[in-house]
């Protein structure tokens, strides 16, 4: 049996890649590598200009949890009951967290340590987002290649390296679920398309694993859980049902659901909650469809029609019954507010103020489509057009994904993140389809010896290509025709476009950075060193994660908004008069109250500006809270002359403006002039009876008050 081996050795040269193929491979690899480097580097502005630090709110919790995971191990993390948050309730972190990002960081950390690189876990966490953006590039390339072709894949990979919508969520230091989840999501999409194309169990199995990773990383996994069944339905409706689809989806649903149930936060939701029901229904439907098809092949046509009707009536009746029973017995969970707000963008602002109070849950302004997608927003329709020109199973998935993402991005600003990859893939297709044919034309121009008859533009173009050709292929005499796309890419990337995008992204990063870095005193470590170890700190929920991260102290509420009434109670503390606030504080066993006040510095996203939300949210625990009492007579929200009587008496107002009226910060402005609101505060002189100033940072940004003890007598 030595013969075959001999044969293969004989023909190694012919079997192996031809020179052309090898070069193509090399070029593809080079372009991907460059895209990865670019995407990694432009996300490092924050670290280069400032320092290696975790930004914003949620990343602080993720960082804290990762530290627990690394220092105490998996089991401790899994069983972690965090008594330092949601005092006095505490939080079962192991069961209420998406652990994907923490495990990813911990894995990288352990690998690096095993390779004798003793990096700090903080640095690993800071670099997670840029690293995963590189992975996203590669995965996007494969996704687009699967849907369209290599050229489009390379374009898409280059686009996603720089698209602002994704860039702004994945700068170094924004160690959030999304930065891992986008990679996982696109990997999932790639594997879904691949498994539907091939119908292989192997790829379907890999899809399930990618889905597990996605479920472990982000609550946005519901998007995949729902878009795959919709995709299956659409394919069936288009008459594109095949055995491949059956194998792929059935495998995915069964194994994927089982795997997703292993994540404790999801658990039995995967078979109980309404958001996951679509997948189940489509699964059942697919089985029925397959069964009917099988019957059709066995029985004559007239019998089949009868059978078909009976079968569908029976299945429909059973389904209705099951749905009724499940809902009636409470097995099936009700739709959550976030889901309703997806369908009706105005739902949250009407019914759930806590969802509406988050800036990134607001509906998207049209301008941000351009700001987040830049030129891609114009190329997406072209991409969809080209998709329809050459329809296959994968392309249908892409179209579906693109249109759904576009809709959801309109509902919530943060979901722009989901749209960005779709826009990149579609624009990649559009670009490749538009430019590749023209490259051939350009090449023809260049080959004509007689230059005189060409216009200036064409001359420039062809000389560019000439330079590129000479640069890359010296005189190997290889036919460059097939590398036309590459020439365009190089031409393109050395042109204005990259410059514009990079500058644009840089400016975007810096805007975010300026916000992040205007908090040096915000992240004042005063609490960490100068309060008792078991001190409880009350602040509005935005700062919960940061306080537990920076100061390692117990907080009453934090950014994980799982208990609305607790948040509402904190809101009630802040909007009550001092005496009442003191009473609630004592009930909550609060030692310190922290407020963020930007009036002296001009920092506009401070507590006074957010104050309407505590008022609205606290309405749910105390219906006597009347929003109009906090407003001026004509219904405006002002802190100056004519401010609402309840506002002036509220604890928030007093804590923010305590002794503020005595000081004149700028020469031009009178004492007590609030720079953010642009007016002199209404009540300048007052004393605190139940609270005392414990600390105020240099710019008055952070003000911490100690809750006085109850008097000994009376």
């Amino acid at each position: 049996m030595g013969m075959p081996t001999q044969l293969s050795i004989n023909y190694t040269r012919t079997i192996g890649l031809s020179t052309k193929q090898q070069q193509q491979l090399l070029f593809r690899f080079a372009v991907l590598l460059i895209a990865c480097c670019v995407s990694f580097c432009i996300r490092l502005f924050a670290v280069i200009r400032y320092e290696s630090i975790i930004h914003e709110f949620d990343p602080w919790f993720n960082f804290r949890a990762t530290k627990v995971l690394v220092e105490q191990g998996t089991f401790e993390f899994w069983n972690w009951f965090d008594s330092a948050s949601w005092y006095p309730l505490g939080r079962i972190v192991g069961g209420t967290v998406y652990p994907g990002i923490m495990y990813s960081a911990a894995t990288i950390y352990h690998i690096l340590h095993a390779l004798t690189f003793p990096v700090d876990i903080k640095d690993v966490c800071v670099m997670m987002a840029p690293l995963f953006s590189c992975f996203t590039n590669i995965v996007t390339y494969f996704f687009t290649k699967q849907v369209s072709d290599t050229t489009a894949g390379l374009f898409a990979a280059c686009f996603i390296a720089m698209v602002p919508g994704y860039l702004s969520r994945s700068v170094a230091g924004s160690y959030d679920n999304e930065c891992v989840a986008i990679t996982a999501m696109i990997l999932c999409f790639f594997l879904i398309v691949k498994s539907v194309h091939t119908g292989s169990l192997f790829w379907s199995g890999l899809t399930c694993l990618a889905y597990l990773y996605m479920v472990a990383s982000w609550g946005g996994y519901v998007f995949i859980t729902n878009i795959y069944p919709i995709y299956v339905l659409v394919l069936i409706l288009c008459g594109r049902y095949s055995q491949r689809l059956y194998v792929a989806y059935s495998t995915f649903y069964v194994i994927g659901t089982l795997l997703s149930m292993q994540i404790r936060f999801v658990g039995f939701q995967a078979v109980q909650s309404s958001e996951h029901m679509g997948a189940l229904i489509v699964f059942v439907f697919l089985q029925c469809y397959c069964f009917v098809n099988w019957i059709r092949s066995l029985v004559p046509r007239d019998v089949f029609v009868t059978l078909y009707r009976i079968f569908f009536l029976a299945v429909g009746a059973m389904f209705m019954l099951a749905a009724f029973l499940a809902t009636a017995t409470g097995y099936l969970g009700p739709w959550t507010g976030r889901f309703y707000s997806l369908l009706d963008p105005t739902y949250a602002s009407k019914h759930i103020p806590i969802i509406a109070s988050v800036a990134e849950h607001q509906p998207t302004a049209w301008g941000s489509y351009f700001f987040d997608l830049h030129i891609l927003s114009m190329l997406v329709p072209a991409g969809i057009y080209f998709c329809f020109q050459n329809v296959n199973d994968g392309v249908i998935f892409l179209i579906l994904y693109g249109s759904f993402a576009a809709y959801f991005a309109g509902v919530m600003v943060r979901l722009m993140l989901v749209l960005a990859p779709a826009a990149c893939v579609l624009s990649g297709i559009a670009f490749s389809k538009l430019l590749v044919p023209n490259v051939a034309q350009l090449r023809k121009w260049e080959q004509k010896k007689d230059e005189s008859q060409w216009s200036e533009i064409k001359g420039v173009a062809s000389s560019w290509i000439g330079v590129v050709r000479r640069f890359y292929c010296l005189d190997s005499g290889v036919d460059l025709y097939s590398f036309g796309w590459l020439e365009v890419l190089v031409l393109f990337s050395s042109g204005w476009f990259v410059v514009v995008i990079v500058c644009f992204c840089a400016s975007l990063c810096l805007v975010r950075l300026r916000i992040a870095c205007s908090e040096p005193s915000f992240r004042s470590s005063w609490l960490r060193y100068n309060t008792k170890v078991d001190a409880k700190i009350l602040s509005w929920w935005d700062y919960g994660y940061q306080i537990s991260g920076f100061a390692n102290r117990t907080v009453i509420v934090d950014n994980n908004t799982w208990n609305n009434s607790h948040i509402a109670t904190v809101g009630r503390v802040l909007n009550s008069p001092e005496r009442k606030a003191f009473q609630i504080c004592k009930k909550l066993d609060v030692d310190y109250v922290l407020v963020i006040f930007g009036g002296a510095l001009g920092y506009s996203s401070d507590d006074i500006n957010k104050f309407l939300w505590p008022i609205r949210i606290s309405h749910s625990v105390d219906s006597t809270v009347d929003e109009s009492a906090y407003l001026t007579a004509d219904g405006n929200y002002r802190v100056g002359e004519g401010a609402g009587p309840a506002l002036v008496e509220s604890l928030m107002y007093k804590l923010c403006y305590y002794r503020f009226g005595e000081v004149q910060f700028d020469r031009g402005n009178p004492a007590g002039y609030d720079k953010v609101r642009g007016e002199v505060i209404a009540k300048k002189k007052f004393k605190l009876r139940y609270f005392e100033e414990a600390f105020t940072s240099r710019n008055w940004l952070v003000r911490i008050y100690h809750v006085k003890d109850l008097p000994n007598i009376g």
């Binding site: 004989n10 690189f117 003793p118 470590s525 060193y529 002794r659 005595e662 240099r698």
Partner: protein, 574 residues
């Protein structure tokens, strides 16, 4: 019985009296003793000039009550010509005091200077003061110098920072007099040994009692040129707390509003210090100034805290820098190296409760010996292991610990560490990654050459044959296409020779391919798979026809070309 007992008692008493008298004869006297206590700083300096009595003094014993010992930072004894004498702490512990023994030289001087530093013995009293109030400190000590000798005459002078001070129960202290900022106790005559009368004094002193509860200084030596230093500080202002928290407005409007407050400290770094960093748990702290290098003082780093430290407040931060190691590291030949390490941390204005000096030597250092002559230097020395970049076994880490340290207290000299390090250990760090990457690439290239298909052998060989067949045919048809393409782009005046040479080269390649194809066909025939054979035959048929077409096309084109060239010649003739 009673009488007997009484007699025995008397006997015993007389005996013990004798014993006391005898031992008293052995005990030396101190002629004269002048003590100066300095309360101007955040630690206490006690200087005692002792004039020894007559007799032969081999050793001098110094005793410190447990309370004093707790606060004692260091003891230094000099003779009249300012030579430092060795001091040893006696290990066997008494219940009430600790004993230090000074070994006097062979030519004993009659005057000795004992300097002892105490820290943490100044307590704010009251603990809590009004925000703008002055800080009062309380100090307690012995009225007469606490020593195991009888002193013929002694006097104590106390220097206060301010004239505002008062002694507790002043009337009970004998011979107390005042002179401006000074208080003088004594002179006292014939003071018996171990006189333990104490006095307490409360005085106004607005210095912040800046104390490092733990200061760690970690040095990493590299033979590649740099010595890394990372110092970590846990600071606390142990002064009086202010009542009712901290008011930013008052602090901003008047920087002297809070009296015992510290906003910044100064660190003295070596002249060559580079890449200085100042950070804390949260991240980089931007409020610092680096000055110098100044020839005499080195570089000065002024560190401003994130918030002012008023009494009772704490802070923690890190300072890091690096210096070229050639100044500190010396080769002694034959793989022996000597390292000199400065002992005190770079912030000198504080007192330190626990100081830890860690020196990490390069990985693989052996036969480590350290030498430090200054007494009292360290309480504890440990050998540990540290893992840093590319370390496999870990680096040896020497950990020196000291309780109570006053960095400015004395000339610390330097710690000398010698060790042995082979050249291989130096190169290891370079070679390891290189070898690792080489192995990785080799592994990758090996893996790409392996065929890991799990298939039946005959089927595998069949499929290999088929694959080969297909790729051969592809190559063939590629060559055909290339030929036609080559010909088609030859335009204008094409010379017949050029045309035929290009055809010949193509033809040679075709021949080669066809030879291979023939070989392969034979193999396939020998394998005896019917399907394969028929497929191979079909493909060969197609190739044949293609070849024929090409040949036909070539011959016609060639004849046309030769016609053309003959026509051209004819035209040329006319």
């Amino acid at each position: 019985m009673d009488a007997w007992k009484r007699r025995l008692c008397v006997l015993f008493f007389v005996f013990s009296l004798f014993q006391i008298a005898y031992s008293a004869k052995e005990v030396h006297n101190i002629e004269r003793l002048d003590r100066t206590i300095d309360l101007n700083k955040n630690f206490v300096t006690e200087k005692v000039v002792i004039k020894l009595g007559k007799g032969k003094w081999d050793t001098l014993e110094l005793i410190f009550s447990l309370q004093q010992y707790e606060c004692l930072a260091q003891v230094q004894v000099e003779d009249s010509s300012n030579h430092i004498l060795p001091v040893k702490e006696q290990q066997e512990t008494e219940v009430l005091f600790r004993k230090f023994v000074v070994v006097l030289g062979s030519t004993p001087e009659d005057t000795l200077k004992v300097t002892s530093l105490y820290m943490n013995c100044l307590k704010p009293k009251p603990r809590v003061i009004p925000k703008d109030g002055d800080q009062y400190l309380y100090y307690e000590s012995y009225v007469r110098f606490y020593c195991p000798y009888e002193v013929k005459e002694q006097k104590t002078t106390i220097n206060f920072p301010h004239s505002q001070f008062h002694f507790i129960e002043q009337e009970k202290i004998p011979q107390l007099s005042f002179n401006g900022n000074k208080a003088i106790l004594g002179p006292y005559k014939k003071v018996p040994s171990m006189d333990s009368m104490t006095f307490g004094v409360r005085f106004r002193h607005n210095t912040p009692l800046l104390t490092g509860s733990q200061v760690a200084n970690t040095l990493k030596v590299s033979h590649w040129g740099w010595l890394q230093v990372l110092e970590s500080y846990d600071l606390e202002n142990k002064g009086a707390e202010s009542k009712g928290g901290f008011s930013r407005l008052d602090f901003q409007s008047n920087s002297h509003y809070y009296k015992p407050v510290v906003e910044d400290v100064v660190a003295r770094l070596p002249t060559e210090a580079r890449d200085v960093s100042y950070k804390d748990y949260v991240g980089n702290i931007t409020s610092s100034h680096l000055r110098g290098p100044d020839r005499s003082k080195g570089r000065i780093l002024q560190l401003k805290f994130r918030y002012p430290l008023i009494g009772g407040w704490k802070n923690a931060f890190f300072i890091g820098y690096r210096v070229p190691s050639k100044k500190y590291l010396k080769s002694l030949g034959s793989n022996q190296y000597q390292l000199r390490v400065n002992i005190p941390p770079s912030i000198r204005s504080i007192v330190i409760e626990k100081y830890v000096l860690r020196v990490a030597l390069p990985e693989g250092a052996k036969n480590i010996a350290w030498d430090y002559s200054v007494p009292f230097a360290f309480d504890n020395v440990n050998n540990e292991t540290m893992f840093d970049l590319l370390d496999i076994q870990g680096r040896p880490l020497l950990v020196f610990e000291k309780r109570n340290m006053v960095p400015t207290g004395m000339n610390w000299g330097s710690l000398v560490i010698t060790y042995e390090l082979k050249i291989w250990n130096l190169l290891e760090k370079l070679l390891l990654p290189v070898v690792f990457i080489l192995i990785l690439l080799a592994g990758l290239s090996l893996a790409s050459r392996l065929s890991l298909y799990l298939r039946d052998d005959t089927e595998a060989s069949n499929s290999v044959c088929l694959n080969n067949l297909y790729s051969l045919h592809c190559a063939l048809s590629d060559t055909y296409k290339e030929a036609i393409h080559n010909f088609s782009i030859m335009k204008g005046s094409v010379i017949t020779e050029q045309f035929s040479t290009s055809y010949n080269s193509i033809h040679a390649r075709l021949k080669e391919l066809e030879l291979q194809l023939e070989l392969l066909n034979k193999k396939i025939a020998s394998l005896g798979n019917v399907k394969l054979i028929t497929r191979a035959n079909q493909l060969t048929e197609i190739d044949k026809t293609k070849h024929e077409i090409l040949q036909r096309w070539y011959s016609t084109t060639r004849s046309k070309l030769s016609n053309l060239s003959s026509l051209e010649k004819e035209i040329g003739q006319y």
